[in-house]
Symmetry: C2
Subunit: 263 residues, 2 copies
Protein backbone atom coordinates (compact mmCIF):
# COMPACT_ATOMS: atom_id res chain seq x y z
CA UNK A 1 0.00 0.00 0.00
CA UNK A 2 1.46 3.33 -1.15
CA UNK A 3 0.10 6.68 0.00
CA UNK A 4 1.52 9.88 -1.44
CA UNK A 5 1.03 13.25 0.23
CA UNK A 6 1.73 15.80 -2.47
CA UNK A 7 0.80 19.22 -3.80
CA UNK A 8 0.08 18.41 -7.43
CA UNK A 9 2.07 20.52 -9.84
CA UNK A 10 4.73 21.83 -7.47
CA UNK A 11 8.26 20.84 -8.44
CA UNK A 12 9.02 18.12 -5.90
CA UNK A 13 5.52 16.63 -6.04
CA UNK A 14 5.76 16.32 -9.83
CA UNK A 15 9.04 14.42 -9.46
CA UNK A 16 7.58 11.70 -7.25
CA UNK A 17 4.22 11.48 -9.06
CA UNK A 18 6.16 11.06 -12.32
CA UNK A 19 8.37 8.32 -10.87
CA UNK A 20 5.36 6.39 -9.52
CA UNK A 21 3.55 6.63 -12.88
CA UNK A 22 6.62 5.50 -14.85
CA UNK A 23 6.78 2.47 -12.58
CA UNK A 24 3.05 1.81 -13.15
CA UNK A 25 2.47 1.76 -9.38
CA UNK A 26 -1.00 2.31 -7.93
CA UNK A 27 -1.09 4.70 -4.97
CA UNK A 28 -3.53 6.65 -2.85
CA UNK A 29 -3.25 10.34 -3.55
CA UNK A 30 -3.56 12.78 -0.63
CA UNK A 31 -3.59 16.34 -1.91
CA UNK A 32 -1.96 18.79 0.52
CA UNK A 33 -3.12 22.34 -0.20
CA UNK A 34 -0.10 24.61 0.35
CA UNK A 35 -2.16 27.78 0.01
CA UNK A 36 -4.33 26.60 2.92
CA UNK A 37 -1.05 25.75 4.71
CA UNK A 38 -2.09 22.15 5.22
CA UNK A 39 1.64 21.24 5.13
CA UNK A 40 2.00 23.15 8.42
CA UNK A 41 -0.88 21.41 10.20
CA UNK A 42 0.05 19.55 13.40
CA UNK A 43 -0.83 16.16 11.89
CA UNK A 44 1.20 16.67 8.75
CA UNK A 45 4.18 17.94 10.78
CA UNK A 46 4.14 14.66 12.71
CA UNK A 47 4.58 12.84 9.40
CA UNK A 48 7.08 15.31 7.93
CA UNK A 49 8.80 17.46 10.59
CA UNK A 50 10.16 19.84 7.95
CA UNK A 51 6.63 20.72 6.84
CA UNK A 52 7.30 20.14 3.15
CA UNK A 53 5.74 17.97 0.48
CA UNK A 54 5.88 15.27 -0.75
CA UNK A 55 5.83 12.42 1.78
CA UNK A 56 5.46 8.77 0.78
CA UNK A 57 4.01 6.21 3.18
CA UNK A 58 4.71 2.62 2.12
CA UNK A 59 3.03 0.00 4.33
CA UNK A 60 3.34 2.44 7.23
CA UNK A 61 6.99 3.36 6.57
CA UNK A 62 7.40 7.10 6.12
CA UNK A 63 9.83 8.36 3.45
CA UNK A 64 10.49 12.08 2.98
CA UNK A 65 12.30 14.28 0.47
CA UNK A 66 11.59 13.82 -3.25
CA UNK A 67 15.10 12.70 -4.21
CA UNK A 68 15.20 10.15 -1.37
CA UNK A 69 11.67 8.98 -2.17
CA UNK A 70 12.53 8.35 -5.82
CA UNK A 71 15.70 6.41 -4.94
CA UNK A 72 13.57 4.39 -2.49
CA UNK A 73 10.96 3.64 -5.17
CA UNK A 74 13.71 2.61 -7.60
CA UNK A 75 15.15 0.17 -5.04
CA UNK A 76 11.81 -1.16 -3.77
CA UNK A 77 10.27 -1.57 -7.23
CA UNK A 78 13.19 -2.13 -9.61
CA UNK A 79 11.13 -2.72 -12.78
CA UNK A 80 10.97 -0.94 -15.15
CA UNK A 81 14.44 0.42 -14.40
CA UNK A 82 14.76 4.16 -13.90
CA UNK A 83 18.50 4.11 -13.27
CA UNK A 84 21.45 3.01 -15.45
CA UNK A 85 23.40 -0.12 -14.55
CA UNK A 86 26.74 1.55 -15.33
CA UNK A 87 28.19 3.21 -12.23
CA UNK A 88 29.50 6.33 -13.99
CA UNK A 89 26.09 6.87 -15.57
CA UNK A 90 24.46 6.37 -12.16
CA UNK A 91 26.68 9.14 -10.81
CA UNK A 92 25.57 11.37 -13.71
CA UNK A 93 21.93 10.52 -12.95
CA UNK A 94 22.43 11.56 -9.33
CA UNK A 95 24.21 14.72 -10.39
CA UNK A 96 21.06 15.81 -12.28
CA UNK A 97 18.80 14.83 -9.40
CA UNK A 98 21.04 17.00 -7.23
CA UNK A 99 20.99 19.83 -9.80
CA UNK A 100 17.19 19.90 -9.74
CA UNK A 101 17.27 20.07 -5.96
CA UNK A 102 20.01 22.69 -5.92
CA UNK A 103 17.96 24.78 -8.38
CA UNK A 104 14.93 24.78 -6.11
CA UNK A 105 15.68 28.02 -4.21
CA UNK A 106 16.41 29.82 -7.50
CA UNK A 107 13.17 28.52 -9.03
CA UNK A 108 11.30 29.55 -5.90
CA UNK A 109 12.54 33.13 -6.33
CA UNK A 110 10.85 33.23 -9.72
CA UNK A 111 7.62 31.46 -8.82
CA UNK A 112 7.26 33.24 -5.50
CA UNK A 113 7.57 36.62 -7.08
CA UNK A 114 5.19 35.67 -9.89
CA UNK A 115 2.64 33.40 -8.21
CA UNK A 116 2.69 33.44 -4.44
CA UNK A 117 3.22 37.13 -3.88
CA UNK A 118 -0.53 37.77 -4.11
CA UNK A 119 -1.27 34.89 -1.74
CA UNK A 120 1.14 36.21 0.89
CA UNK A 121 -0.21 39.72 0.52
CA UNK A 122 -3.72 38.40 1.21
CA UNK A 123 -2.73 37.31 4.71
CA UNK A 124 -3.35 39.57 7.68
CA UNK A 125 -0.28 40.32 9.82
CA UNK A 126 -1.67 37.93 12.47
CA UNK A 127 -2.11 35.16 9.90
CA UNK A 128 1.40 35.69 8.55
CA UNK A 129 2.77 35.48 12.09
CA UNK A 130 0.90 32.19 12.63
CA UNK A 131 2.31 30.76 9.38
CA UNK A 132 5.86 31.79 10.26
CA UNK A 133 5.56 30.37 13.77
CA UNK A 134 4.51 27.02 12.39
CA UNK A 135 7.14 26.85 9.64
CA UNK A 136 9.91 24.61 11.04
CA UNK A 137 12.75 25.32 8.59
CA UNK A 138 14.48 28.65 9.32
CA UNK A 139 15.62 29.22 5.71
CA UNK A 140 12.03 28.86 4.50
CA UNK A 141 10.80 31.28 7.14
CA UNK A 142 13.37 33.78 5.93
CA UNK A 143 12.20 33.42 2.31
CA UNK A 144 8.56 33.95 3.34
CA UNK A 145 9.41 36.99 5.40
CA UNK A 146 11.35 38.29 2.45
CA UNK A 147 8.26 37.79 0.31
CA UNK A 148 6.07 39.61 2.81
CA UNK A 149 8.56 42.50 2.77
CA UNK A 150 8.17 43.09 -0.97
CA UNK A 151 9.80 40.09 -2.62
CA UNK A 152 13.15 39.60 -4.28
CA UNK A 153 15.24 42.38 -5.74
CA UNK A 154 15.77 42.72 -9.49
CA UNK A 155 19.36 41.54 -8.98
CA UNK A 156 18.18 38.38 -7.21
CA UNK A 157 15.66 37.64 -9.96
CA UNK A 158 18.43 38.15 -12.52
CA UNK A 159 20.66 35.68 -10.63
CA UNK A 160 17.83 33.13 -10.71
CA UNK A 161 17.39 33.61 -14.48
CA UNK A 162 21.17 33.33 -14.96
CA UNK A 163 21.10 30.14 -12.91
CA UNK A 164 18.62 28.56 -15.31
CA UNK A 165 20.61 29.78 -18.32
CA UNK A 166 23.70 28.11 -16.85
CA UNK A 167 21.94 24.85 -15.98
CA UNK A 168 20.11 24.57 -19.31
CA UNK A 169 23.36 25.36 -21.14
CA UNK A 170 25.03 22.47 -19.31
CA UNK A 171 22.06 20.22 -20.14
CA UNK A 172 22.30 21.11 -23.83
CA UNK A 173 26.03 20.30 -23.86
CA UNK A 174 25.58 16.99 -22.03
CA UNK A 175 22.58 15.83 -24.07
CA UNK A 176 24.38 16.70 -27.34
CA UNK A 177 27.58 14.92 -26.26
CA UNK A 178 26.21 11.93 -24.36
CA UNK A 179 22.43 11.71 -24.81
CA UNK A 180 19.73 10.80 -25.56
CA UNK A 181 19.07 11.02 -21.80
CA UNK A 182 20.86 13.03 -19.14
CA UNK A 183 22.65 9.98 -17.73
CA UNK A 184 23.30 8.50 -21.21
CA UNK A 185 21.41 5.55 -22.70
CA UNK A 186 18.88 5.08 -19.90
CA UNK A 187 15.86 7.26 -19.09
CA UNK A 188 16.36 7.84 -15.38
CA UNK A 189 15.48 9.65 -12.17
CA UNK A 190 17.77 12.44 -13.41
CA UNK A 191 15.48 13.10 -16.37
CA UNK A 192 12.41 12.95 -14.12
CA UNK A 193 13.85 15.49 -11.68
CA UNK A 194 15.03 17.92 -14.36
CA UNK A 195 11.73 17.68 -16.26
CA UNK A 196 9.94 19.23 -13.29
CA UNK A 197 12.23 22.26 -13.55
CA UNK A 198 12.35 22.61 -17.31
CA UNK A 199 8.55 22.40 -17.49
CA UNK A 200 8.46 25.37 -15.12
CA UNK A 201 11.05 27.28 -17.17
CA UNK A 202 8.94 26.83 -20.32
CA UNK A 203 5.87 28.05 -18.38
CA UNK A 204 7.55 31.14 -16.98
CA UNK A 205 9.86 32.04 -19.88
CA UNK A 206 8.51 30.56 -23.13
CA UNK A 207 11.30 32.22 -25.14
CA UNK A 208 14.30 31.28 -23.00
CA UNK A 209 15.06 27.93 -24.63
CA UNK A 210 14.49 28.20 -28.40
CA UNK A 211 15.20 25.17 -30.54
CA UNK A 212 17.81 27.18 -32.44
CA UNK A 213 20.10 27.43 -29.41
CA UNK A 214 18.91 24.34 -27.45
CA UNK A 215 18.06 21.65 -30.03
CA UNK A 216 19.02 18.65 -27.88
CA UNK A 217 17.18 19.99 -24.85
CA UNK A 218 14.01 20.58 -26.89
CA UNK A 219 14.18 17.07 -28.37
CA UNK A 220 14.68 15.66 -24.89
CA UNK A 221 11.75 17.60 -23.44
CA UNK A 222 9.41 16.59 -26.28
CA UNK A 223 10.36 12.92 -25.92
CA UNK A 224 9.57 13.09 -22.21
CA UNK A 225 6.30 14.97 -22.61
CA UNK A 226 5.15 12.33 -25.14
CA UNK A 227 5.48 9.58 -22.49
CA UNK A 228 2.10 8.48 -21.06
CA UNK A 229 3.33 8.95 -17.48
CA UNK A 230 4.37 12.56 -18.10
CA UNK A 231 1.10 13.34 -19.85
CA UNK A 232 -0.84 12.22 -16.79
CA UNK A 233 1.43 13.94 -14.27
CA UNK A 234 1.68 17.31 -15.98
CA UNK A 235 -2.03 17.65 -16.87
CA UNK A 236 -3.67 20.48 -14.89
CA UNK A 237 -7.16 20.13 -13.49
CA UNK A 238 -7.09 16.40 -12.67
CA UNK A 239 -7.92 14.92 -9.25
CA UNK A 240 -4.24 15.21 -8.37
CA UNK A 241 -3.79 18.69 -9.81
CA UNK A 242 -6.92 20.64 -8.91
CA UNK A 243 -7.34 24.13 -10.27
CA UNK A 244 -7.40 26.11 -7.05
CA UNK A 245 -10.21 28.52 -6.28
CA UNK A 246 -9.13 32.00 -5.18
CA UNK A 247 -9.44 33.14 -1.57
CA UNK A 248 -7.11 30.88 0.36
CA UNK A 249 -6.74 30.93 4.13
CA UNK A 250 -4.62 29.63 6.98
CA UNK A 251 -7.43 27.35 8.15
CA UNK A 252 -5.33 24.32 7.18
CA UNK A 253 -2.96 24.95 10.03
CA UNK A 254 -5.64 24.20 12.57
CA UNK A 255 -8.26 22.21 10.63
CA UNK A 256 -6.32 19.77 8.49
CA UNK A 257 -6.41 16.17 9.61
CA UNK A 258 -4.64 13.44 7.72
CA UNK A 259 -7.12 10.87 6.50
CA UNK A 260 -5.93 7.32 7.10
CA UNK A 261 -2.57 8.51 8.35
CA UNK A 262 -1.67 4.96 9.24
CA UNK A 263 -1.43 4.32 5.49
Amino acid sequence: MLVLYHSGLTTCSKQVRHCLREKGLAYQSRYVDLLRFEHLSPDYLKLNPHGVVPTLVHDGRVIVNSACINEYIEEAFPEPRLSPADLTERARMRFWVWTADDSHPQGARLTRNRRLKAAVEELTPAELRLVLERMPVPGRRERWQRQAQGGHSDEEIETAIEHFRFVTGRMEQELAARGPWLAGETFSLGDISMTSLIHRVFELFPDMLPRSSHPSLNDWFERIMARPAAKLVYAAGTDETPRLPPGRSVSGITEFRIAASAG
Copy 2:
Protein backbone atom coordinates in the same frame (compact mmCIF):
# COMPACT_ATOMS: atom_id res chain seq x y z
CA MET B 1 43.63 4.30 -9.94
CA LEU B 2 41.78 6.93 -7.89
CA VAL B 3 42.70 10.62 -7.98
CA LEU B 4 40.90 13.06 -5.69
CA TYR B 5 40.94 16.81 -6.30
CA HIS B 6 39.96 18.35 -2.99
CA SER B 7 40.48 21.31 -0.71
CA GLY B 8 41.37 19.61 2.53
CA LEU B 9 39.17 20.65 5.43
CA THR B 10 36.31 22.25 3.49
CA THR B 11 32.95 20.59 4.06
CA CYS B 12 32.49 18.64 0.83
CA SER B 13 36.15 17.63 0.60
CA LYS B 14 36.02 16.21 4.13
CA GLN B 15 33.00 14.09 3.16
CA VAL B 16 34.76 12.34 0.28
CA ARG B 17 38.14 12.03 2.02
CA HIS B 18 36.35 10.44 4.98
CA CYS B 19 34.47 7.99 2.75
CA LEU B 20 37.68 6.93 0.95
CA ARG B 21 39.50 6.40 4.26
CA GLU B 22 36.64 4.37 5.78
CA LYS B 23 36.83 2.12 2.71
CA GLY B 24 40.61 1.83 3.13
CA LEU B 25 41.13 2.94 -0.48
CA ALA B 26 44.48 4.33 -1.64
CA TYR B 27 44.19 7.47 -3.78
CA GLN B 28 46.34 10.23 -5.20
CA SER B 29 45.62 13.50 -3.45
CA ARG B 30 45.56 16.70 -5.52
CA TYR B 31 45.15 19.71 -3.27
CA VAL B 32 43.17 22.53 -4.93
CA ASP B 33 43.89 25.84 -3.18
CA LEU B 34 40.60 27.76 -3.10
CA LEU B 35 42.22 30.93 -1.81
CA ARG B 36 44.49 30.94 -4.89
CA PHE B 37 41.31 30.25 -6.93
CA GLU B 38 42.79 27.10 -8.43
CA HIS B 39 39.21 25.73 -8.69
CA LEU B 40 38.55 28.43 -11.31
CA SER B 41 41.59 27.67 -13.46
CA PRO B 42 40.86 26.73 -17.08
CA ASP B 43 42.18 23.19 -16.62
CA TYR B 44 40.16 22.50 -13.49
CA LEU B 45 36.99 23.90 -15.10
CA LYS B 46 37.41 21.35 -17.92
CA LEU B 47 37.28 18.63 -15.30
CA ASN B 48 34.53 20.23 -13.20
CA PRO B 49 32.48 22.82 -15.14
CA HIS B 50 30.89 24.16 -11.94
CA GLY B 51 34.31 25.09 -10.57
CA VAL B 52 33.78 23.40 -7.23
CA VAL B 53 35.64 20.75 -5.25
CA PRO B 54 35.87 17.80 -4.87
CA THR B 55 36.24 15.85 -8.11
CA LEU B 56 37.09 12.15 -8.22
CA VAL B 57 38.81 10.60 -11.24
CA HIS B 58 38.60 6.80 -11.28
CA ASP B 59 40.56 5.17 -14.12
CA GLY B 60 39.90 8.28 -16.21
CA ARG B 61 36.17 8.51 -15.36
CA VAL B 62 35.28 11.87 -13.85
CA ILE B 63 32.76 11.98 -10.98
CA VAL B 64 31.65 15.30 -9.46
CA ASN B 65 29.60 16.41 -6.42
CA SER B 66 30.45 14.99 -3.01
CA ALA B 67 27.11 13.21 -2.48
CA CYS B 68 27.29 11.60 -5.94
CA ILE B 69 30.95 10.70 -5.44
CA ASN B 70 30.25 8.95 -2.14
CA GLU B 71 27.32 6.97 -3.62
CA TYR B 72 29.67 6.02 -6.50
CA ILE B 73 32.40 4.87 -4.12
CA GLU B 74 29.85 2.82 -2.15
CA GLU B 75 28.65 1.07 -5.32
CA ALA B 76 32.13 0.61 -6.88
CA PHE B 77 33.78 -0.58 -3.65
CA PRO B 78 31.01 -2.19 -1.59
CA GLU B 79 33.21 -3.38 1.31
CA PRO B 80 33.18 -2.39 4.08
CA ARG B 81 29.54 -1.32 3.72
CA LEU B 82 28.74 2.34 4.32
CA SER B 83 25.00 2.00 3.64
CA PRO B 84 22.27 -0.03 5.33
CA ALA B 85 20.70 -3.00 3.52
CA ASP B 86 17.19 -2.06 4.68
CA LEU B 87 15.48 0.26 2.17
CA THR B 88 13.83 2.53 4.74
CA GLU B 89 17.17 3.00 6.48
CA ARG B 90 18.79 3.72 3.11
CA ALA B 91 16.21 6.47 2.58
CA ARG B 92 17.08 7.87 6.02
CA MET B 93 20.80 7.75 5.11
CA ARG B 94 20.09 9.74 1.95
CA PHE B 95 17.95 12.20 3.85
CA TRP B 96 20.95 13.07 6.03
CA VAL B 97 23.29 13.26 3.04
CA TRP B 98 20.74 15.66 1.54
CA THR B 99 20.49 17.61 4.83
CA ALA B 100 24.25 18.18 4.86
CA ASP B 101 24.08 19.42 1.29
CA ASP B 102 21.03 21.57 1.97
CA SER B 103 22.83 23.10 4.96
CA HIS B 104 25.81 24.15 2.87
CA PRO B 105 24.61 27.67 1.97
CA GLN B 106 23.73 28.33 5.63
CA GLY B 107 27.12 27.06 6.75
CA ALA B 108 28.78 29.18 4.09
CA ARG B 109 27.11 32.30 5.52
CA LEU B 110 28.85 31.63 8.81
CA THR B 111 32.25 30.63 7.48
CA ARG B 112 32.32 33.34 4.83
CA ASN B 113 31.59 36.03 7.34
CA ARG B 114 34.10 34.62 9.78
CA ARG B 115 36.90 33.31 7.58
CA LEU B 116 36.79 34.42 3.97
CA LYS B 117 35.81 38.03 4.47
CA ALA B 118 39.43 39.03 4.96
CA ALA B 119 40.50 37.08 1.88
CA VAL B 120 37.91 38.80 -0.31
CA GLU B 121 38.80 42.20 1.07
CA GLU B 122 42.44 41.59 0.10
CA LEU B 123 41.55 41.44 -3.59
CA THR B 124 41.82 44.54 -5.78
CA PRO B 125 38.62 45.46 -7.67
CA ALA B 126 40.24 44.14 -10.87
CA GLU B 127 41.09 40.84 -9.20
CA LEU B 128 37.56 40.48 -7.82
CA ARG B 129 36.17 41.12 -11.31
CA LEU B 130 38.44 38.39 -12.72
CA VAL B 131 37.27 35.93 -10.06
CA LEU B 132 33.59 36.69 -10.66
CA GLU B 133 34.00 36.39 -14.43
CA ARG B 134 35.51 32.94 -14.07
CA MET B 135 32.97 31.68 -11.52
CA PRO B 136 30.48 29.60 -13.53
CA VAL B 137 27.62 29.20 -11.03
CA PRO B 138 25.45 32.36 -10.78
CA GLY B 139 24.34 31.73 -7.20
CA ARG B 140 27.97 31.47 -6.09
CA ARG B 141 28.84 34.70 -7.89
CA GLU B 142 26.00 36.38 -6.05
CA ARG B 143 27.27 35.14 -2.69
CA TRP B 144 30.78 36.41 -3.46
CA GLN B 145 29.53 39.79 -4.57
CA ARG B 146 27.51 39.93 -1.40
CA GLN B 147 30.65 39.20 0.58
CA ALA B 148 32.55 41.93 -1.24
CA GLN B 149 29.74 44.35 -0.39
CA GLY B 150 30.10 43.86 3.35
CA GLY B 151 28.89 40.33 4.03
CA HIS B 152 25.65 38.96 5.40
CA SER B 153 23.28 40.91 7.58
CA ASP B 154 22.76 40.07 11.25
CA GLU B 155 19.34 38.63 10.34
CA GLU B 156 20.89 36.30 7.77
CA ILE B 157 23.52 35.13 10.24
CA GLU B 158 20.75 34.54 12.77
CA THR B 159 18.82 32.44 10.22
CA ALA B 160 21.96 30.36 9.62
CA ILE B 161 22.40 29.79 13.35
CA GLU B 162 18.70 28.92 13.68
CA HIS B 163 19.12 26.48 10.79
CA PHE B 164 21.84 24.61 12.68
CA ARG B 165 19.77 24.65 15.87
CA PHE B 166 16.89 23.08 13.93
CA VAL B 167 19.03 20.46 12.18
CA THR B 168 20.95 19.47 15.32
CA GLY B 169 17.65 19.28 17.23
CA ARG B 170 16.32 16.85 14.61
CA MET B 171 19.58 14.85 14.82
CA GLU B 172 19.29 14.58 18.60
CA GLN B 173 15.68 13.33 18.32
CA GLU B 174 16.52 10.79 15.62
CA LEU B 175 19.68 9.49 17.30
CA ALA B 176 17.85 9.12 20.62
CA ALA B 177 14.88 7.35 19.02
CA ARG B 178 16.57 5.22 16.36
CA GLY B 179 20.37 5.36 16.77
CA PRO B 180 23.17 4.62 17.31
CA TRP B 181 23.72 6.02 13.79
CA LEU B 182 21.64 8.47 11.80
CA ALA B 183 20.24 5.75 9.53
CA GLY B 184 19.84 3.27 12.40
CA GLU B 185 22.11 0.27 13.00
CA THR B 186 24.64 0.96 10.24
CA PHE B 187 27.33 3.64 10.16
CA SER B 188 26.69 5.20 6.76
CA LEU B 189 27.28 7.97 4.25
CA GLY B 190 24.69 9.97 6.18
CA ASP B 191 26.92 10.01 9.26
CA ILE B 192 29.94 10.92 7.14
CA SER B 193 28.14 13.86 5.51
CA MET B 194 26.73 15.22 8.75
CA THR B 195 30.06 14.86 10.56
CA SER B 196 31.57 17.43 8.19
CA LEU B 197 28.92 19.94 9.29
CA ILE B 198 28.83 19.16 12.99
CA HIS B 199 32.63 19.37 13.17
CA ARG B 200 32.30 22.90 11.76
CA VAL B 201 29.53 23.80 14.22
CA PHE B 202 31.73 22.72 17.15
CA GLU B 203 34.59 24.83 15.70
CA LEU B 204 32.48 27.95 15.23
CA PHE B 205 30.14 27.66 18.21
CA PRO B 206 31.75 25.51 20.93
CA ASP B 207 28.82 26.14 23.27
CA MET B 208 25.90 25.49 20.89
CA LEU B 209 25.61 21.73 21.47
CA PRO B 210 26.23 20.97 25.16
CA ARG B 211 25.95 17.39 26.31
CA SER B 212 23.14 18.42 28.68
CA SER B 213 20.77 19.22 25.78
CA HIS B 214 22.30 17.02 23.06
CA PRO B 215 23.54 13.83 24.75
CA SER B 216 22.93 11.49 21.81
CA LEU B 217 24.54 13.87 19.34
CA ASN B 218 27.62 14.25 21.52
CA ASP B 219 27.92 10.46 21.92
CA TRP B 220 27.55 10.06 18.15
CA PHE B 221 30.19 12.70 17.40
CA GLU B 222 32.68 11.22 19.86
CA ARG B 223 32.20 7.72 18.44
CA ILE B 224 32.90 9.06 14.95
CA MET B 225 35.91 11.15 15.95
CA ALA B 226 37.43 8.05 17.61
CA ARG B 227 37.41 6.18 14.28
CA PRO B 228 40.88 5.97 12.66
CA ALA B 229 39.51 7.29 9.33
CA ALA B 230 38.04 10.42 10.95
CA LYS B 231 41.22 11.06 12.93
CA LEU B 232 43.23 11.11 9.70
CA VAL B 233 40.73 13.19 7.75
CA TYR B 234 40.07 15.87 10.37
CA ALA B 235 43.71 16.41 11.39
CA ALA B 236 44.95 19.86 10.35
CA GLY B 237 48.44 20.36 8.98
CA THR B 238 48.82 17.07 7.11
CA ASP B 239 49.77 16.76 3.42
CA GLU B 240 46.06 16.86 2.58
CA THR B 241 45.21 19.66 4.98
CA PRO B 242 48.06 22.17 4.75
CA ARG B 243 48.07 25.16 7.06
CA LEU B 244 47.80 27.97 4.55
CA PRO B 245 50.24 30.86 4.58
CA PRO B 246 48.67 34.33 4.48
CA GLY B 247 48.78 36.51 1.36
CA ARG B 248 46.74 34.63 -1.20
CA SER B 249 46.35 35.73 -4.82
CA VAL B 250 44.36 35.03 -7.96
CA SER B 251 47.39 33.56 -9.67
CA GLY B 252 45.72 30.15 -9.68
CA ILE B 253 43.21 31.26 -12.27
CA THR B 254 45.93 31.58 -14.86
CA GLU B 255 48.79 29.51 -13.48
CA PHE B 256 47.22 26.34 -12.15
CA ARG B 257 47.76 23.30 -14.27
CA ILE B 258 46.37 19.96 -13.27
CA ALA B 259 49.14 17.46 -12.77
CA ALA B 260 48.42 14.16 -14.44
CA SER B 261 44.85 15.19 -15.36
CA ALA B 262 44.45 11.93 -17.26
CA GLY B 263 44.33 10.27 -13.84
